[in-house]
């Protein structure tokens, strides 16, 4: 260090007089710019009663109406939920739930009657709900191969390591690979309206239009492209272990078959929380009004999906929809609460401010 030092002295020592006189040297005077002199024009907000208190009142005044609106909307939404897990002895599905029937060839069917007190108007959506199902477990979440699902031929035949232990079966690659695909929900739900005149009318359920557009048309693609012969494409692959049918037999409709089967896509969009619901079917553009009149209904379940082992629950949910989505009392209540608290805070702060606040500007600045 020292050596550098006294070297520099040598350099500088001889030009000490080069200040104002030595006009050849550029002046070392820093530039007089607002930036360099730290004089940039600036907005300097100060928390004063004049700005903070109105903010609280405004938040209060905005949030409370939103909250009330949300709450009312949410309350107007019709929602019906039935648990068909079959835990209780009395439950119609008890028998089915008892025998493990993951891929038994003889399907176990149970019928659950229920009563809708109010008619459901407009589009009605049917969901299945699972509880205590850890779709968000790290090992589960990563157990998929997005390239394969995107229709990549290489990945189809050599699935990613992440899919282990569901990558190969009998030395054949599994398509679709991974634990998520393997555990796809495979109960079949059918809804019947028990007409007061005694006939059982099948409610038409649409199995398309339930997945996100981007998923269906961007993220998921069948290998070989549209219109390819799926049977041929998937030649040489194995179906997921738990599946009854190979992936190219999920639906007869070719635009809803293979990887782009919407039930499959919905399942593959893993839930954030262990209790979740997923859209199963829609009842759209019903010819009858109301879509689902009040009355007796029967839910017929082909019971395949075992959840008892981990104390899971299966539910079927029917719901109508509003501008804010489905029934969601949380948002409304939260908005009303937060709005009220802010308003209240505003009042309290105002009182405190007037009672003992510091309103004099500068009188008591002392050094």
């Amino acid at each position: 260090m020292m050596a550098t030092s006294y070297n520099a002295k040598d350099e500088d020592g001889h030009i000490t007089v080069s200040g104002p006189g030595g006009g050849t040297l550029r002046s070392r005077k820093p530039e007089n710019t607002a930036f360099k002199q730290q004089r940039l024009p600036a907005w300097q907000p100060i928390l004063t009663a004049g700005t903070v208190l109105p903010a609280f009142f405004i938040i209060g005044l905005i949030f409370i109406p939103i909250g009330i609106g949300l709450y009312v909307t949410s309350n107007n939404i019709r929602e019906f939920e039935v648990d068909y897990t079959g835990v209780d002895m009395s439950s119609p599905c008890f028998n089915c739930s008892q025998n493990y029937s993951w891929n038994s060839s003889r399907p176990c069917t149970c019928t659950i009657p229920f009563y809708l007190e109010q008619p459901y108007e407009g589009n009605v959506y049917m969901y299945y709900g699972l509880s205590n199902f850890y779709q968000n477990h790290r090992r589960y979440v990563k157990s998929r191969d997005d390239s394969q699902l995107h229709g990549d031929m290489d990945s189809l035949l050599t699935p990613s390591k992440e899919c282990e232990p569901y990558a190969f079966h009998d030395k054949k690659p599994i398509a679709p690979c991974g634990a998520i695909a393997n555990s796809m929900f495979n109960d079949t739900l059918e809804l019947f309206y028990n007409d007061p005149n005694g006939t059982k009318v099948l409610v038409p359920l649409a199995n398309t239009g339930i997945a996100w557009f981007t998923d269906k048309y961007v993220k998921f693609k069948n290998p070989g492209g549209d219109g390819a012969n799926l049977t041929a494409v998937f030649q040489g692959t194995s179906k997921p272990v738990n599946w009854l049918k190979p992936v190219y037999e999920l639906d007869k409709n070719s635009s809803n078959n293979g990887f782009i089967n919407e039930d499959f896509i919905v399942w593959m969009r893993t839930a954030a929380l262990p209790t979740f619901r997923k859209l199963y079917r829609t009842i759209k553009d019903a010819k009858v009004i109301p879509t689902l009149p009040s009355g007796n209904y029967t839910l017929e379940v082909v019971y395949n999906y075992p959840v008892r082992s981990f104390e899971g629950r299966k539910r079927m949910i029917l719901s109508t929809i509003s501008w804010m989505g489905g029934k969601n009392p949380f948002l409304g209540i939260a908005y009303v609460t937060v709005g009220s608290v802010c308003f209240f805070l505003g009042v309290v702060l105002l009182v405190i401010h007037h009672k003992c606040g510091n309103r004099n500007n500068s009188a008591d600045i002392s050094n």
Binding site: F276, K327, N328, N367
Partner: protein, 1200 residues
């Protein structure tokens, strides 16, 4: 370094004795002494990468991230993709490496420059030009005037008579006056190369060490032994002056020279925030481990209760088969996920901020000095925020507080004062730069730089007022200045003390030009006439006499004694006839002293021939005495310096640097204690203390500690202490609870209302710094408002700083300009060098440098305060942000089976710290200012929070992490509540992971952006740009990363395709984001509002005032001016050494050409006496009269 290792192979590890033989390279090579090449750079092209990387990974933080990276490569643990860590890590490493490489390159370049300097070496009978690095121990080298000495060399001979040479040691010890070195008599005769070639003397001396003022050795030559000491050595770093050439034998070279041995290793200075930050990072590590353990236990429990049953859908691999082991793996996974609580970008961001702050210092126009064309410079870029926490300033005096320029300001001649300016109403007006100077153009020999404003003095001279003439004649005759006339009329004075220089220059301009001197005569040019006085005797100065006299015979043949000295001494020796004049003059002196001027009284006396002859004989006899010579001489001097006639008095201004008193007053208001540490004399130091307003008449007591023994000093310290404590009514704090006292001394100190000052001299300080006494000293010093240490050595300066550093836990600043301040500058937390002056040593050792002391005020109160504020705000926000960001994963752990699933997209985790949130916080850290610079200076109390460490400490850290924790909780649970049952407008389900991730991430980005908006005090356009820009960039990247195109290219890296589009198109998601943001921000807002509204700090008040004023429009400045009200008589202190009178009369320092001197062999024995005397060898005989050379200097005709 390499040489050192080589040595250790065939030599004992430590050199015990050094043998150097002249002109014998082969012989000297045996010892493997270091060569003269120096190397301070660390790397070369090939070693840079490995060495630098190795060094970087030695830093805990980098090593930590490397470990994380390795962990991530284990698939069972890897909870994050590899790129989430490697991208920031590489970024950090590259930035640091670039910086290191640049620094090292500059070091390399400067090494090269030094190593390649030319030097003349005597090789094989010829002088050869060689580079410095090729100089070897044992070589004989030739130095020319104004050259740097290349190594530590033994002076052999020089161009000057008697083997003398002059050096300037400013680089080594900061003293700018010339020092004399002289060769051994035997070697000084070898004036030419042919003799030097045959020189084969061998030097045996001490091994290399760092003692600059000591050297012991012997020269063995032709069977004789000659002792060697430091007076024969020229050390590397000195500059040869006034000596045409000299030859020397290289004793130490390269890193073994005393200069290099002294430089030691630069201590890497760290700020207290740095240390705190390191502690906090360790705490965070601990916290991280705790979280990891909690989650790992959770994982074990989950695996054994739920996961076991869930194997239908999620089979365990072989590794997860045991729940405990799975928990162990989860621990590591969580360590990886939660690593962002220790943000890798923290250290880099802090460095960037400091660099920015340093640039602002460099750019500050208000710290630019136009006279010397120097801007302030932050030489160390790592200490900025520490500038905002300073409690102690240790200042050098000369060159720092004062300009070290003496100016002849006023005088009193025969009861009349000159020097003040009056306007037409006879009122005194202040002298400013604009005042008209007296025109000295009548005098061709005048010094252009001399300025005097009172024209009446010149008129008096022109009117041939006898008293005025005598006055200036005295100034021109009575001194020890040497003149040099390079060309006709171009006079250069070399004065031992600047005071004398100023006086002689004043006389010169008023027409009494001191032109030349020989040992026997002084030639003046009096009002254009050349007049030669015979110099009969110089009655030299010493500390006791405090005066000097000359006895001259003027051309008319009269013998006259002229005497100048401290007024108190002179007034005792006046002729009774001068009594009236004395009273008038005394009044004037008081007036001068009140203005802080240094005064001198001038007298003269006519001597009659017989009386003088008798006295002269006695003097000659006395000067040949061996015993009691000094006493006898003093007595004789005393005898003749009696009954003198008062001529008048001079007043010299020891020019303070601009704005020094104001700065000191301002810093005092900011509770910064200023201690002056100076090598100067007590009187000078006290004088300056008064003129800087550090000492005042209204102080209760100024304690002066000057003892010669430990006990004496102890007693004085104790007395002073008791006096303070007794008066303040605080008693009983005796030795028994001394420790307790020092523990809460800050409270205690404040209870002292009375003002005290402490002045301590170097000798006493040496005792007071004894471990027994240092506590007493420190307690006393801290009770005093002002502390002045005078006559201190560079080492003592450092010791004082060290003392305060050790016991007070306060941030210290040392400020100085000379090499003697280097140790103190290096010791203090922050070293400040005064630049733009001669020596650069202090500047080069310093962390900050600027041209004037007064800039310290701005550096500390504005830049330091801002830096501290910014750094604290930055850190608080940074920790808050990262806790809010990371701990969401902790809450999520409870809902995902403790599986270390991330909430966010991997890319979001990668980019959050380095892209989405880095710029706004950097902008805040760079530009924020709570109060503008004028107000920072106007209200120095604003500085106090920094000293008390209020803005960022452990509790503040705790609060901001708590806020982060709270935010993370809300960030997770509000979307959780809202999304768990949410469906989209089209009925499709919405509670999927990716939507959740985007919602939480968006809320997070918005919340932290709003929060920084609330935290920032100063929204410049850049802040706006960065905050809004970051939000825009976030959304842009979000959509880009989740676009079809990206997914099409890398399907497995961008699985989030389409999520943002689907999710952010929903009103309900926006409602969730709005709710989350409001709920996260409101609590903090309420707290800060309550604080501002109910417990406003001074800052808040000033801010409000500032805004109020801004609305009112600009107001006129009413900066307080500090008035100087000192009425104290300033003491006259000669700043030059004793012994120069003798030097002049002996004629030894005259060039051969200017003195007609026959070299008679008979004179040789006495020849070196004066040197010995000068070097304070005692009891030697000096004889002035022996040398009765009739010096007939031609009467020169003055020009003009």
């Amino acid at each position: 370094m390499e040489t050192n290792q080589e040595c250790s192979f065939d030599r004992p590890v430590k050199e015990k004795e050094r043998h150097v033989k002249a002109n014998a390279r082969d012989y000297n090579d045996k010892f493997h002494y270091a060569d003269n090449r120096i190397k301070t750079s660390k790397y070369n092209v090939f070693t840079f990468l490995p060495v630098n990387l190795f060094e970087q990974f030695q830093r805990v933080a980098n090593a930590y991230f490397l470990v994380l990276l390795i962990l991530q490569l284990i698939p069972e643990i890897s909870s994050l993709s590899w790129f989430t860590t490697i991208v920031p890590l590489v970024l950090v490493l590259v930035i640091t490496a670039v910086k290191d490489a640049t620094d090292d390159y500059f070091r390399y370049r400067s090494d090269q420059r030094v190593n390649n300097r030319q030097s003349q070496i005597l090789i094989k009978g010829r002088l050869q030009n060689e580079k410095w690095m090729n100089v070897r121990v044992g070589d004989i080298i030739k130095l020319s005037n104004n050259q740097f000495v290349a190594a530590d060399i033994l002076l052999l001979c020089s161009s000057e008579p008697y083997g003398l040479c002059y050096i300037e040691t400013a680089e080594l010890d900061g003293e700018t006056n010339l020092k004399v070195r002289h060769a051994l008599t035997v070697t000084s005769e070898m004036g030419d190369i042919s003799k030097l070639i045959d020189f084969d003397g061998e030097v045996i001396c001490e091994p290399p060490n760092n003692k600059l003022d000591k050297f012991t050795g012997t020269l063995l030559w032709s069977d004789n032994k000659y002792p060697l000491d430091n007076e024969k050595m020229l050390l590397r770093g000195c500059v040869l002056r006034n000596t045409e050439w000299c030859f020397g034998l290289v004793i130490f070279a390269g890193w073994q020279t005393k200069l290099m041995q002294n430089c030691g290793k630069t201590i890497f200075k760290r700020t207290s925030i740095d240390k705190l930050m390191n502690t906090l990072v360790l705490w965070i590590f601990a916290f991280l481990i705790c979280m990891g353990v909690i989650l790992a236990v959770g994982n074990t429990m989950w695996e054994s209760w739920i996961g076991r049953n869930f194997q239908v859908f999620l089979p365990r691999g072989e590794i997860q088969s045991s729940a405990v082991f799975s928990g162990f793996l989860a621990f590591w996974s969580y360590v990886i996920i939660l690593n962002t609580v220790v943000p890798i970008s923290l250290y880099v961001s802090v460095e960037v901020l400091r660099l920015g702050h340093s640039y602002f210092i460099n750019w500050d126009q208000k710290m630019y000095c136009a006279q010397t064309d120097t801007a302030a410079e932050a030489r160390t870029t790592t200490l900025n925020e520490e500038l905002g926490q300073v409690e102690f300033v240790f200042s050098d005096k000369t060159g720092t507080l004062t300009q070290n320029i003496m100016v002849f300001r006023k005088c009193s001649i025969n009861g009349h004062t000159y020097g003040d300016l009056y306007n037409e109403f006879d009122q005194k007006v202040e002298i400013t730069e604009k005042s008209a100077c007296v025109d000295f153009s009548f005098n061709p020999l005048s010094d252009q730089r001399f300025q005097f404003y009172d024209g009446s003095l010149l008129e008096a001279v022109k009117l041939e007022d006898a008293a005025v003439h005598e006055f200036f004649r005295l100034l021109a005759l009575c001194h020890t200045v040497m003149s040099e006339e390079k060309s006709e009329g171009d006079l250069v004075y070399q004065a031992q003390s600047p005071d004398e220089g100023a006086l002689v220059t004043a006389a010169r301009n008023f027409g009494f030009v001191f032109r030349a001197r020989t040992p026997e005569s002084i030639t003046l040019c009096e009002m254009g006439r050349a007049v030669t006085y015979r110099l009969l005797a110089i009655l030299d100065f010493n500390n006791v006499r405090k005066r000097m006299s000359v006895i001259v015979r003027n051309p008319e043949g009269q013998i006259k004694l002229y005497c100048k000295g401290a007024d108190s001494i002179i007034f005792e020796r006046l002729d009774p006839s001068s009594e009236d004049l004395m009273h008038t003059t005394l009044e004037h002196l008081n007036e001068f002293a009140g203005e802080g001027l240094r005064t001198l009284a001038l007298t003269c006396k006519d001597l009659d021939e017989d009386h003088f002859d008798v006295w002269m004989k006695k003097l000659l006899f006395a000067s040949t005495l061996i015993e009691n010579r000094d006493d006898q001489l003093a007595e004789l001097y005393e005898e003749i310096e009696q009954g003198m006639k008062l001529l008048g008095a001079t007043a010299i201004e020891d020019k303070l640097q601009e704005g020094v008193p104001e700065t000191i007053a301002c810093l005092n208001l900011a509770d910064i204690k200023i201690w002056v540490l100076t090598g100067d004399k007590l009187e000078t130091a006290v004088n300056i203390g008064y003129s800087c307003n550090m000492l005042r008449d209204d102080m209760n007591e100024v304690f002066i500690i000057s003892g010669n023994t430990l006990l004496e000093v102890q007693q004085q310290l104790r007395n002073a202490n008791e006096q303070i404590l007794g008066l303040s009514g605080v008693c009983g704090a005796e030795d028994s609870d001394k420790t307790e006292m020092s523990a809460d001394d800050s409270v205690f100190e404040e209870s002292i209302i009375a003002e005290y000052a402490l002045v301590i001299n170097g000798d006493s300080l040496a005792y007071a710094l004894d471990p027994q006494l240092e506590h007493v000293l420190l307690d006393l010093a801290c009770l005093c408002k002002t502390v002045i240490c005078c006559r201190v050595t560079p080492l003592q300066k450092a010791q004082v700083v060290e003392l305060v550093k050790k016991h007070k836990r306060a941030v210290t600043v040392a400020i100085g300009d000379g090499a003697n301040d280097v140790s103190m500058i290096k010791t203090a937390h922050i070293g400040v060098g005064i630049s733009g002056q001669e020596g650069m040593q202090a500047v080069l050792a310093s962390d900050f440098s600027f041209a004037q002391f007064r800039y310290l005020q701005r550096l500390l109160l504005v830049h330091g305060r801002w830096s501290y504020l910014r750094m604290c705000n930055f850190l608080r926000y940074f920790f808050y942000k990262n806790f809010a960001f990371t701990l969401v994963h902790f809450w999520y752990g409870f809902f995902c089976g403790f599986s270390a699933q991330t909430v966010y997209d991997q890319w979001f985790i990668t980019l959050f710290n380095i892209v989405y949130t880095s710029l706004p916080v950097l902008a805040m850290g760079l530009f924020d200012q709570d109060v503008n610079d004028q107000n920072s200076l106007r209200y120095p109390s604003l500085y106090k929070p920094g000293q008390q460490n209020l803005l960022f400490n452990k509790s503040q850290f705790f609060l901001c992490t708590l806020q982060g924790l709270g935010t993370s909780f809300l960030l997770f649970f509000i979307p959780y509540g809202a999304l768990s049952v949410m469906v989209r407008e089209d009925g499709s389900h919405f509670s999927d992971q990716q939507t959740f991730a985007v919602t939480v991430a968006t809320s997070l980005v918005i919340v932290v952006s709003v929060q920084i908006g609330l935290d920032a005090h100063y929204w410049t356009a850049v802040n706006h740009l960065f905050i809004w820009g970051s939000l825009i960039v976030y959304f842009a990247i979000l959509f880009a990363m989740q676009s079809n195109g990206m997914f099409g290219i890398f399907p497995s890296q961008f699985p989030f395709v389409g999520t943002a589009r689907n999710c952010l198109a929903e009103q309900s998601v926006w409602l969730v984001i709005l709710l989350t943001s409001v709920v996260c921000v409101v609590p903090g807002l309420v707290v800060s509002f309550l604080k501002v509204d109910h417990f406003p700090t001074l800052t808040d008040k000033v801010r409000r005032l500032q805004q109020y004023r801004k609305k009112e429009g600009p107001q006129k400045k009413n900066l307080k001016r500090v008035s100087r009200t000192s009425s104290r008589r300033s003491a006259y202190a000669f700043s030059h050494q004793q012994g120069y009178g003798e030097l002049i009369t002996s004629g030894k320092n005259m060039k051969v050409g200017s003195v007609f001197s026959a070299r008679s062999p008979g004179r040789t024995p006495n020849r070196f006496v004066w040197i010995e005397n000068l070097l304070k060898k005692k009891n030697e005989v000096s004889c002035i009269s022996d040398e009765n050379i009739e010096t007939q200097t031609a009467q020169q005709q003055c020009t003009g």
